[in-house]
């Protein structure tokens, strides 16, 4: 993947985080909207699933950028990229599991 694609995703996930985060906050704090959103558990789950994915991508890509600037060696750059990707996927699986448990779906 070209660096521009990764960075474009970085910006898009930043915006997604604001939107889905806002929905999440409203669901918890604004009773009328809260009812609307939490009435459908799958909508809530999808919102949180997207929020978590965007958050993890944005955060881990940020860490990757910091690391490849600190260790500017081509071999390390690749290794850092793959390591961060695997850790990110593992964190997402754990996060989704916690979410499903909290919603009483598993």
């Amino acid at each position: 993947m070209r660096e521009s694609t990764k960075m474009l995703l970085h910006y898009i996930t930043g915006i997604l985080m604001i939107i889905t985060g806002l929905i999440h906050l409203l669901a918890n704090n604004e009773p009328n909207i809260g009812k609307l959103i939490t009435s459908n558990v799958y909508f809530y789950l999808a919102n949180m699933g997207i929020f978590l994915a965007a958050l993890l991508y944005h955060a881990f890509n940020g860490v990757r950028v910091i690391l490849i600037e600190l260790v500017p060696d081509t071999c390390w750059t690749k290794l850092i990229g793959w390591a961060i990707l695997l850790i990110g996927i593992a964190a997402y699986i754990v996060g989704i599991q916690v979410l499903l448990m909290a919603l009483g779906l598993i």
Partner: protein
């Protein structure tokens, strides 16, 4: 009041202390600071002062210069901690309210000797972005039949970036270069942009592959310290942002320009008349 004659400009007006970085990595264990006191007039530039020190006080002092008129870019160094061309900076301009001026080589360059930095990585990065016109019509380039047509608007798009002296001031001020030694740097990236938007150039995709890389334009944090110190107001920071936009637009299929066509030469007609 008496008219001030131009001769008065060269009368000594102040004694200034120059604190200069001295280091010969081949011989010295540690760098050291040396102080020189010299009389300056209103017109004395830092380069004049350095030349005088070299002639009259310390012949071993090393620094680099060539044109003496802010055109070649070889005399850039740190003056009181800021990147400047010393041939166009007057001593009194930077000496007010201080009793000394501090001179040291540019940051982010390894020192060859005293005030002279090693520009090899800097020029290698400049070369890496292919700073020349790339054309598909090689035959036309080798045996020109005319000139490439370019409108004033097309010229204005890259004009600002043609002023770059390759002085290294921006590269030296960049915090990303300081941590990431593979980062292409503001000068090379701004030059890549300069050629990529030139309507005579066909090398857009070739250059995107180089600048859209792990240590390419996306590593720029847009702090614009580069633009802040550029002595020619090239604004390389802006160049990098425009480059990012260009790459994103290219992803969605936009090309910045149609390649320039060749205008048949008029030289023959003029001769015939």
């Amino acid at each position: 009041m008496m008219e001030q004659s131009s001769i008065d400009l060269w009368k000594p007006v102040k004694v200034v202390k120059l604190r200069v970085y001295k280091y010969n990595p081949k011989k010295d264990f540690f760098p050291e600071w040396k102080e020189y006191e010299i009389e300056v007039s209103r017109g004395t530039t830092i380069l004049d002062a350095l030349l005088r020190i070299k002639e009259e006080i310390d012949p071993s002092l090393s620094f680099r210069y060539s044109c003496g008129q802010a055109l070649c870019g070889s005399c850039a160094m740190m003056v009181n901690g800021r990147q400047m061309l010393v041939c166009r900076t007057r001593v009194l301009e930077v000496a007010h309210n201080r009793d000394f001026i501090e001179l040291r080589p540019l940051d982010n360059f390894s020192v060859i000797r005293d005030l002279v930095g090693d520009f090899t990585p800097f020029f290698e990065k400049h070369r890496a972005v292919k700073p020349w016109i790339i054309r598909k019509d090689v035959e036309e380039l080798e045996n020109p039949t005319g000139e490439y047509r370019q409108t004033i608007e097309e010229y204005a798009r890259y004009y600002q970036f043609t002023d770059c002296l390759k002085c290294g001031a921006c590269y030296s001020a960049c915090p990303t270069v300081a941590t990431d030694h593979e980062y292409l740097g503001p000068q090379a990236l701004a030059q890549a942009y300069r050629y990529m938007v030139d309507s005579r150039d066909d090398g857009l995709d070739e250059r995107i592959a180089i600048v859209d890389s792990d240590h390419g334009c996306w590593r720029c944090h847009f702090a614009t310290s580069c633009s802040d110190v550029c002595p020619k107001y090239v604004d390389p920071g802006q160049g990098i942002q425009l480059l990012k936009r260009l790459i994103v637009r290219r992803k969605f299929g936009f090309r910045p320009h149609k390649p320039a066509e060749v205008l048949p030469s008029k030289i023959g007609e003029v001769k015939r008349r």
